[in-house]
């Protein structure tokens, strides 16, 4: 009898919890995340037929072509750099392997606009690379410029290949060795093994990495605007800043949203079709000891990659920061920018991780069409360009809660919405380890909903939450366009200062800020890498 009552109470309370926590909280977060999208749909609804027509005929064909070519080229670039590095590092043991892993991840600390800025200044006639070029090819030769599709591809590939590297390496270090051994036994040479066995096994990870790269390319603002390459994002920004109405910008944004969503759905479709299952007994692959020749070849290639993707930019930052230090330009004002940047990044990371949790848990438990829909809608931040997100939030705040306008909270809201997808993704993949029986066991042992969350659920997905925090922290630290529009008066962050100084060609003022972004990200990155190696062990 008493047991039955207890059971009844349990199911009822669990039902109540379902209403408040799962069915209530998750949609609330999704609505919050959808604010910019609602703005875009509303504003583009204001666009007249004539407006659409002129967009369609005059702007779209060129923008579509430019954006798609760039995405394909950047994907190819990141594929070559990321996969080659990941394959060698996880399959061969060579001197300095640990260092090489770091070198492949470090470019993540440099934002795209800093890459673009550094390389344009290096390639000027009196820049380091410009001088080198003249030394090799003669004083009359023309140094190549970055103001074209190849230049932008170069910059975005260097800035993005680390995502592919990280994901593919993660996949390679757990993939089963049997497949490769069997292929070997059947007489395939090592290239054939790579091409016909290892590569297909890596496909899901490569797809996920390239998807990340393409989404970054579609919404990149910094590099394309520094290099004046007309993509959707730059054109949207120019529409916003050229005219006093935002309708055309909203129209273009809507097209971009469709483009990105199509891409996301395609990517998911192909990834779902490629699932590989191994036997239960998986052995981690012990990398083979590299021969001396292999070591030289590997280091030549990895060295080349990291010279361009990290060492050269770092040297540039150090040299100009030194100049700034000598000139006494690093004052308390500079440390104020550092403080602002750290503050917003810590606050945004913490808030985003908390807000993302309900949606991630909801999807992990339900796996329904509705939860999938929530997931898609809350990835708006990844699909819309930063300036548009900022504008949507601005319009929302001024129309609905004008009291908070101008305050720090608006900027925080923007960062949260922009980087929510990162947090949800990381948390959701961690939450997949949660089998319903674990949570049910907790409840049947008499834990309240809150106790269950605190003592069962959270500890299990702790790692995922930590990675989510780190990812959001890094991206907020580098965020430029939304911060530019929404920062409280006089609240300059490091990216904002880099942008201002760079547009005035004050190299010695831009460099210390860029350097500090790298330094500020390092401990966080170290933490992320440690988590990854722990997992792989």
């Amino acid at each position: 009898m008493s047991l039955a009552v207890h059971y009844k109470n349990f199911t009822e309370s669990s039902f109540a919890q379902r209403i408040t926590l799962r069915s209530g909280l998750a949609p609330a977060v999704v609505v919050l995340a959808a604010i910019p999208l609602i703005f875009v749909i509303y504003s583009s609804g204001q666009l007249s037929t004539g407006g659409w027509l002129s967009l369609w005929t005059q702007r779209l064909p060129e923008l579509l072509w430019n954006t798609l070519t760039l995405s394909v080229l950047v994907a190819i670039g990141c594929f070559i750099l990321g996969v080659s590095a990941a394959y060698w590092i996880s399959r061969r043991d060579f001197v300095g392997r640990k260092l090489s892993i770091w070198l492949m991840v470090l470019p993540l600390t440099i934002p795209t606009y800093v890459f673009a800025y550094i390389y344009t200044s290096l390639l000027e006639d009196e820049g380091w690379l410009g001088q080198l070029w003249h030394f090799i090819f003669g004083a009359q030769s023309v140094v190549p410029e970055l103001y074209n599709v190849l230049g932008v591809t170069f910059v975005l590939s260097l800035a993005g290949f680390s995502y592919v590297f990280l994901l593919v390496r993660g996949a390679l270090s757990v993939s089963q060795r049997e497949f490769e051994e069997v292929a070997r036994l059947h007489g395939l040479n090592s290239f054939q093994v790579f091409w016909r066995v290892s590569l297909p096994l890596m496909r899901p990870a490569i797809a996920a990495g390239l998807a990340l790269v393409v989404l970054h390319t579609l919404s990149d603002f910094g590099a394309v605007s520094m290099l004046r390459y007309q993509t959707f994002t730059l054109s949207i920004y120019m529409q916003m800043n050229g005219r006093d109405s935002y309708e055309a910008a909203a129209g273009l944004s809507l097209v971009l949203v469709f483009l990105s969503l199509t891409f996301l759905i395609l990517e998911r479709f192909f990834r779902n079709r490629q699932r590989y299952y191994g036997s239960g007994k998986t052995r981690h692959i012990q990398p083979k000891k590299a021969t001396r020749l292999e070591t030289i070849a590997i280091w030549f290639w990895l060295g080349l990659i990291s010279i361009f993707s990290f060492i050269l930019p770092l040297a540039w930052m150090l040299s100009w920061s030194w100049q700034a230090l000598v000139d006494g330009l690093i004052t308390s004002v500079f440390w104020g920018y550092v403080g602002n940047s750290l503050f917003i990044s810590i606050a945004a990371a913490t808030l985003t991780v908390i807000i993302g949790l309900p949606v991630a848990l909801y999807h992990a438990r339900k796996r329904s069409v509705l939860s999938q829909f929530y997931l898609h809608v809350s990835s708006v931040g990844f699909v819309l360009p930063g300036p548009v997100i900022a504008l949507g939030i601005l319009a929302f705040v001024l129309a609905v809660v004008p009291v908070i306008y101008g305050g720090f909270i608006v900027l925080l809201l923007a960062m949260t919405i922009r980087f929510l997808p990162l947090a949800i993704q990381a948390e959701e993949s961690a939450a997949q380890q949660l089998t319903p029986s674990i949570e049910q066991a907790g409840r049947s042992l008499g834990a309240t909903a809150w106790q269950n969350l605190r003592r069962v659920t959270l500890p299990i997905i702790r790692g995922g939450m930590m990675s989510a925090w780190v990812l959001v922290f890094i991206d907020t630290l580098k965020e430029l366009p939304a911060t530019f529009l929404l920062r409280p008066t006089g609240f300059d962050t490091l990216p904002v200062r880099i942008w201002i100084e760079a547009s005035e060609e004050m190299l010695e003022l831009a460099a210390p800020s860029a350097l500090f972004l790298v330094i500020g990200t390092l401990p966080i990155l170290w933490f992320l890498m440690r988590e990854q190696t722990d997992k792989n062990r």
Binding site: Q58, R243, D244, G336, G339, F343, A347, A395, P402, E504
Partner: protein, 349 residues
């Protein structure tokens, strides 16, 4: 169990750090933007604005917070913010934005006494904005290049002989748009459209994001001729006195004897309508339009002062020695959208 303790001690740490940092920054932020300082939305480069602001603070003791951005986006921000704005002063690098702000009713007039110091053609109709420094849209020509004698007008940039030889900036540059407005109003829409098509052809889709780089490209012989604001040429010559470039004041002569004249533009400032420190803002406007303030603009950036009694830098062609297209500054704002439509219809990058 220990896992949970660790997790919570970590979460707690993060929480504490956040609170700590938050309170410090909020505190320092509240000190920084304390109620009694003057807030400027500045669409000009910091390096032009800071010297005059520093001089103003030194002379008046009034603290200033500068919020930097692009003129157009700051104007849009003002428009959205309405009465909630923090801004007391709006500084624009272009007359077009000042006039647009005026039309949208965002500004408050300065006193007649302050306005009287500035030449009438360089200020808004109801003294709602003041032009503080003027610039000429000119050509920079490489002196070593051959066959450049035919270049007399900006319209010559579309000449097929200059294919691949011209350097221009991108179409969202405010100076560029203002220049096209002047040409459009002086020479007509169709001629300007044809000209833009020629520019697109001759620049081969490659535009420069900085005027400084245009001058440099011409000086290095990569391009023959470029379209820039006059002071970029002198800034380059100041650093490289022997560079093979010269300034060419375009449209001073024509076959019909009625040349168009050069396009002229001003950078300026206005007091915002919703400023909470109108008295401080008025003091700032008085300072920047005084002889003392004007001299700083003339010296720092080699622009033309907008007061009669302050001379321009000595190397510049003096005002009056060249013909200026008779387009009023406020037209740059009124015709701005029409100009952008025209540029977009040609599809310039």
């Amino acid at each position: 169990m220990s896992n949970i303790t660790v997790l919570f001690s970590r979460l707690f740490k993060i929480f504490t750090v956040t609170i700590l940092v938050a309170s410090t920054v909020v505190y320092s932020g509240s000190v920084m933007s304390a109620g009694d300082s003057l807030v400027i939305y500045s669409g000009r480069s910091d390096k032009f604005v800071k010297p005059v602001v520093a001089a103003f603070t030194k002379a008046s003791g009034i603290k200033v917070v500068i919020h930097t951005g692009s003129s157009t986006s700051l104007l849009n921000k003002l428009k959205l913010e309405k009465a909630r704005t923090d801004a007391d002063i709006f500084i624009s690098n272009d007359a077009g934005n000042l006039q647009r702000g005026n039309t949208a009713g965002l500004f408050a007039p300065v006193t007649n006494k302050i306005a009287a110091a500035i030449k009438p053609q360089f200020r808004g109709k109801e003294n709602n904005w003041l032009g503080l420094s003027a610039r000429a849209r000119v050509l920079v020509v490489n002196t070593k290049a051959k066959d450049t004698d035919f270049i007399q007008s900006v319209f010559d940039l579309a000449d097929p002989r200059l294919e691949g030889k011209i350097a221009i900036t991108h179409s969202s540059n405010e100076s560029y748009i203002a220049g096209v407005t002047v040409y459009m109003l002086s020479a007509g829409k169709e001629r300007t459209r044809a000209w833009l098509k020629g520019l697109k052809q001759n620049s081969k889709g490659r535009v420069y994001n900085k005027h400084r780089k245009i001058v440099k490209a011409v000086a290095r012989g990569k391009k023959v001729v470029g379209l820039v604001n006059h002071y970029y040429i002198y800034r380059y010559l100041n650093k490289n006195p022997n560079a093979p470039i010269r300034i060419l004041m375009p449209d001073q002569e024509s076959e019909d004897g009625k040349p168009m004249g050069i396009a002229w533009n001003v950078a300026g400032a206005a007091i915002t309508k919703h400023s909470k420190h109108k008295d401080l803002a008025m003091k700032f406007m008085a300072y920047v339009s005084s002889a003392e303030g004007q001299k700083i603009f003339a010296e720092v950036n080699r622009e033309y002062p907008t007061r009669d009694d302050v001379p321009a830098a000595s190397m510049l062609p003096p005002v009056g020695s060249f013909k200026v297209a008779p387009v009023s500054m406020y037209k740059l704002g009124e015709e701005r959208n029409a100009t952008i439509d025209l540029i977009e219809s040609v599809g310039m990058p």
